[in-house]
């Protein structure tokens, strides 16, 4: 530490040092962002137009739209779009509705709430591979506990993981379970931000609890619901990791369960067609971008 007078003097004496000081603090961060975020964003755009792009040498035959044309005609990509769309369309609304109901219960002031919160939030911190293996075992046709529980209700054995028509539903069930904790946390913090006086006023007016829920809780929660819909639509559009433990790293039992990100991975890491992978990544980004914009427009209209 230097004496105050000396320090001030030193600063006035060296304007260059003063101007460069923020740069010194920022250099590690900006360097990391430039190399691992900014450059890849620019590069993936360029790469998506390079035909026959070779990794390491960086050579390509010509610039054009061939990668996009290939991907958009590829039936596996169409399949990936369909699966991802169904996955998003089921998981997002289902997890949103369930999380509103559960967060509403968790928000009541009863004893033992910490214990319940722990139970509901635990799946959030566990590795996808480990939790996925537990689900794989539970989904097992011959030895699975899910088929046992279903048999209590008279259902026959379902071949969750090997029958193409069921495999997407297994992925969806596992997906809802793993996204719920995060969604409940957001809903709960939204509920806790609602002013208590609204409820007191409604109760004084003698409103029934169902009426309170639909007339006060849901409208007041609208901004949080909008946020949850946006975040969950984006994260479910990128469904990928969950496929590995359930289907041994293959996209479903008979290559029927491609998702958009799995398709990117497949073109990039299995087939080494980097240009096509980049084109698929660009399409994914465009879809996410459009959905985000749409939801924001709808939300703005809704709140007015």
């Amino acid at each position: 530490m230097t004496a105050p007078g000396k320090r001030k003097y030193a600063y006035r004496d060296r304007p260059l040092a003063r101007a460069l000081e923020p740069l010194a603090y920022l250099t590690p961060f900006l360097a990391a962002i430039a190399v691992f975020t900014l450059y890849p964003v620019i590069n993936v755009v360029l790469m998506s137009f390079k035909e026959g792009y070779q990794m390491l040498t960086g050579r390509f035959t010509q610039v054009g739209m061939e990668n996009y044309a290939y991907v958009l005609r590829d039936r596996y990509f169409i399949n990936a779009l369909q699966n991802t769309a169904i996955y998003v369309a089921v998981v997002v609304p289902l997890s949103t509705i369930l999380s509103i109901l559960i967060a509403n219960l968790l928000n009541r002031k009863v004893k033992g709430m910490a214990l319940f919160q722990t139970a509901y939030f635990m799946p959030m911190v566990t590795a996808v591979t480990a939790a996925g293996l537990a689900w794989k075992f539970m989904f097992s046709r011959d030895f699975g506990v899910i088929n046992q529980i279903l048999s209590w209700f008279g259902a026959g054995k379902i071949n969750w993981l090997q029958a193409p028509e069921w495999s997407l539903w297994a992925l969806i069930i596992y997906g809802v379970w793993s996204i719920l904790p995060f969604t409940i946390i957001l809903m709960l913090s939204g509920l806790q931000n609602i002013d208590e006086t609204h409820y007191i006023a409604a109760r004084v007016d003698g409103a029934k609890s169902a009426r309170i829920f639909f007339r006060i809780t849901v409208p007041m929660l609208a901004p949080t619901i909008g946020l949850v819909l946006t975040i969950n639509t984006i994260s479910t559009s990128k469904v990928f990791n969950e496929i590995f433990p359930l289907f041994n790293g293959r996209p479903g039992p008979s290559y029927n369960l491609y998702t958009v990100v799995y398709y990117i991975y497949d073109q990039f890491y299995i087939k080494w067609k980097l240009g096509r992978a980049a084109a698929a990544a660009m399409i994914l980004f465009l879809i996410i971008f459009v959905i985000t914009m749409l939801q924001q427009v709808i939300q703005r209209k809704w709140s007015h």
């Binding site: 530490m1 230097t2 105050p4 923020p22 603090y25 920022l26 590690p28 961060f29 360097a31 962002i33 691992f36 975020t37 450059y39 890849p40 964003v41 993936v44 790469m47 990794m55 219960l105 919160q117 722990t118 139970a119 509901y120 635990m122 799946p123 959030m124 911190v125 566990t126 590795a127 996808v128 591979t129 480990a130 939790a131 293996l133 537990a134 075992f137 539970m138 097992s140 011959d142 030895f143 046992q148 379970w177 719920l180 995060f182 946390i185 957001l186 709960l188 913090s189 975040i231 990128k238 990928f240 990791n241 041994n248 990100v261 990117i264 990039f268 990544a281 660009m282 996410i288 985000t292």
Partner: protein, 291 residues
């Protein structure tokens, strides 16, 4: 109505209200417990199956509890695959990531909150807009970069790409901004330079925000699967989630062993969660987890 009658009516209404409150509380507990059982069931199944015999995991209807807890499953898991090494790798990389990203984040958040330079807010807004780019889009180029640096199958590649985090910098900058300016000027009068002020005053005050960042980063790093799967090839460099996945694809489906191995992977992070639930949940509520 006599006074006695009205008192009786009041008591009746009070009793009815109490009953309704009791019923409401009962219903709350019932539905909460039902949901909790569903959410926890995969963990129950994982932990109990880890102690079952090979026969017990291969029957229908399945046995819910092992007849006698079989601890050998864990010994077998560590014999069949080097889970000790995977564990060490995961711990090392998580520690390196928490320390490295933490340091880079502290420095950047300080510059974006305390130091003044032209274009500061514009630069920060531009960085925030980069946050909506999914990591999946960057993976191809980052793999090329890591390959060009000859870091494929090197554990350094598991945390270097994540040193700069816009999300964590955003959380910490907001916290730094809430620290009053008066503190800074009095520290300057006392002769503290920026560097001293950052480490002696701001960092200790920002402990809650730093704890959040450390916890979220530790969980993300420990559980990371996609990136390690792409860049790591050899057994000696695998982390736990990757090692577990390879154990499944190469070792075949022995569910009692897979569940024992899964238990080894999830137990440390569950313990962390039980200890620091409030901070983790608070951090997630403030901005969600990355990825």
């Amino acid at each position: 109505m006599t006074a006695k009658e009205s008192a009786g009516l009041c008591a009746e209404i009070a009793r009815a209200n109490r009953l309704r409150a009791l019923l409401a509380r009962g219903a709350t507990y019932f539905f909460l417990a039902l949901g909790a059982v569903v959410m926890l069931f995969p963990f129950f199944w994982m932990f109990t199956s880890a102690f079952k015999t090979p026969q017990e995991v291969a029957t229908f209807p399945p046995r819910w509890l092992p007849a006698a807890p079989r601890f050998e499953n864990f010994a077998t898991v560590f014999e069949k695959a080097p889970f000790g090494i995977y564990f060490l790798n995961s711990a090392l990389i998580t520690a390196a990531s928490v320390a490295g990203t933490g340091l880079v984040t502290i420095l950047a958040a300080f510059a974006f909150s305390r130091l003044k330079f032209p274009g500061r807010n514009l630069l920060f807004t531009l960085l925030l807009s980069l946050m909506m780019i999914p990591f999946e889009m960057l993976v191809i180029t980052n793999y090329e970069t890591i390959a060009a640096w000859r870091l494929i199958d090197n554990r350094l590649s598991l945390f270097i790409p994540f040193l700069g985090s816009i999300f964590y910098t955003y959380i910490l900058r907001n916290f730094f901004l809430s620290i009053p300016d008066g503190l800074y000027w009095s520290a300057r009068v006392d002769g503290a330079g920026n560097w001293t002020y950052l480490w002696k005053v701001m960092v200790p005050i920002a402990r809650p925000a730093l704890t959040t960042i450390v916890l979220l980063n530790a969980i993300t790093s420990w559980n990371s699967f996609m990136w390690p799967m792409l860049v790591i090839n050899s057994t000696a460099n695998r982390t736990l989630p990757l090692g577990l996945y390879v154990f499944m694809t190469e070792g075949g489906i022995n569910f009692e062993l897979l569940m024992a191995a899964s238990t080894v992977v999830v137990l440390p992070i569950i313990l962390l969660f039980l200890i620091a639930r409030k901070q983790i949940v608070g951090g997630v509520a403030r901005g969600g987890m990355k990825g």
